[in-house]
């Protein structure tokens, strides 16, 4: 509870650090914030060419099938990959002043989330261009986004603090995220996986998050509410555990950095 109070007290710092992270990312680049569009679009182009034409995946309107999953994944991927360096990159201020350290992972996730919201414009434009439009199922979208935010924050808490002690994590996470990408139904769908492996696949929370996005935006139907319910509980347990790990680690940040 005291964390919430402290975060409220330091709200201006939270705001400026989100803004700084968001603006700072593209400050030196020629195209600026446009990169948050171009990046996922180029990635999309690669996958949309590779899978239907080279791997011969047979899905109707594959580009749309891909886009509704790939853009949420990009948000998750960039959050997690950046989370390993959030604390280390701020070692200067951590050693100099006191502030609630939790602000750093929170602003990492939030600035990426804002980026994600901007990229959602691409999804919506694409949905209208392809003639699919938006269904009533869109009302479930904020819930799924919120769950993904909570899940990313939990992971970010754990990775940002543990990396301070074990620096290898940064490289390990990069490889792991590549594996995680293929363990999540982004370029394929759960139904394409043999029955016996599905149980294992279901243990991955991202499977359910991505499937929910696809249900809502591509199939335009309500997502599996039971899965969403379980996900809700798991995400909050993870957030709780993640914050406690972070809290345990944060006391020695200034000495370890």
């Amino acid at each position: 509870m005291s964390l919430v109070q402290e975060l409220y007290h330091y709200r201006e710092f939270l705001k400026t650090s989100i803004r700084k992270e968001f603006r700072g990312k593209y400050k030196k680049s020629f195209l600026g914030v446009l990169w948050s569009f171009i990046n996922p679009l180029l990635q999309l182009l690669v996958y949309a060419l590779v899978f239907p034409f080279i791997m011969r995946v047979k899905v109707e309107n594959y580009t749309m099938f891909l886009i509704v999953a790939l853009i949420p994944w990009t948000f998750f991927n960039s959050t997690v990959c950046q989370s390993t360096s959030t604390i280390i990159a701020s070692s200067g201020i951590i050693k100099k002043v006191y502030f609630p350290r939790a602000i750093l992972p929170i602003s990492n996730v939030t600035s990426n989330f804002i980026n994600f919201l901007i990229s959602c414009i691409i999804i919506i434009i694409a949905l209208f261009i392809s003639g699919m439009g938006l269904g009533a199922s869109i009302i479930y979208l904020p819930i799924v986004m919120f769950l993904q935010y909570v899940f990313s924050l939990a992971i970010s808490f754990i990775l940002s603090s543990v990396t301070v002690y074990i620096r290898d994590l940064e490289y390990f996470v990069n490889v792991l995220m590549m594996l995680w990408f293929y363990l999540t139904p982004i370029v394929y769908e759960v139904s394409m996986i043999p029955e016996k492996f599905r149980m294992i696949l279901n243990l991955n929370p991202m499977v359910h998050i991505i499937t929910a996005y696809r249900d809502i935006l591509y199939y335009q139907k309500a997502p599996d509410l039971k899965a969403i319910g379980i996900l809700f509980v798991i995400c909050f347990i993870l957030l709780f555990v993640g914050y406690h790990i972070f809290h345990k680690c944060e006391k020695r940040f200034a000495e370890e950095l």
């Binding site: 201006e12 700084k20 002043v97 006191y98 074990i166 020695r252 000495e255």
Partner: protein, 248 residues
């Protein structure tokens, strides 16, 4: 009743011990940890040993002692940048530390924007910063330079801006660590006078310095730290003269 007695105390340090691990050759990565498991030898150095200290509201206290006696460590413990191995520290009131100036300054942004970054780290809201902005700019004496990016500043200008923000944060308790070492004579005097003013307003201050003139000018009480323990605690006059006797 209990609350009453707390009201007079600003800082209470009880039985605080702090160890630093000094690694001979630190293994930071997993590979190093596995291959050179014997490399991670460390020496535990006791920096502070069972410190007990009470500072009342409105007091101005100097911490003096030779390098490595634990003064800065004690200040860092008070701001919660680091935590003690045992014992605890209670703070009553809003605390700001001027341990190092210019935390969170970003070289590509203007002086004005950096005032916002820096002050927000100290926990100020936008409205509070807006209200102090003119005071801060006036104190820094930067004039029109305030809208130039910080990377174009000289080190003196940088320092003045940083100090101007920190001193205007409006805390109840100020921890100041050797920040006056930079800046010209004029600005140093200005800072000292500003601190004297704050003292009159009833702020609590803990001041680390090697400048005995500044200590005598500002503080009523001095604490002499020696090898992690309090060697003497009393009026500035007496502690400083005892300290100087040993030093020379």
């Amino acid at each position: 009743m209990k609350k009453q007695s707390n009201n007079k105390l600003a800082i209470k340090v009880s039985h605080v011990t702090k160890n630093f691990n000094v690694y001979y050759d630190k293994a930071n990565t997993l590979k190093e940890r596995m291959i050179f498991f014997n490399r991670n030898q460390k020496e535990v150095r006791k920096v502070l040993n069972d410190i007990n200290l009470e500072i009342s509201k409105g007091e101005t206290v100097a911490l003096i002692g030779v390098n490595g006696s634990g003064k800065s460590t004690l200040l860092k413990l008070m701001t919660k940048i680091i935590y003690p191995n045992s014992g605890n520290i209670k703070i009553h009131g809003k605390l700001t530390s001027l341990l190092e100036l210019g935390a969170g300054f970003h070289p590509d942004f203007s002086g004005r924007e950096n005032i916002y970054f820096n002050a927000s780290i100290f926990g100020l809201t936008k409205a509070q910063i807006d209200k102090r902005l003119d005071d801060i700019i006036a104190f820094s004496e930067l004039g029109d330079y305030i809208d130039n990016p910080i990377r174009t500043y000289s080190s003196g200008m940088y320092m003045r801006l940083a100090f101007a923000v920190a001193i205007n944060v409006d805390a109840d308790i100020l921890l100041i660590d050797e920040v006056l070492a930079v800046g010209d004579q004029h600005f140093q005097e200005k800072c000292l006078n500003k601190m004297k003013e704050l003292k009159k307003e009833g702020k609590t201050m803990v001041f680390v310095s090697h400048s005995m003139d500044a200590v005598k000018f500002l503080c009523d009480r001095a604490i002499w730290l020696y090898e992690g323990q309090i060697r003497e605690d009393g009026s500035t006059e007496k502690v400083v003269s005892d300290y100087l006797k040993v030093c020379s």
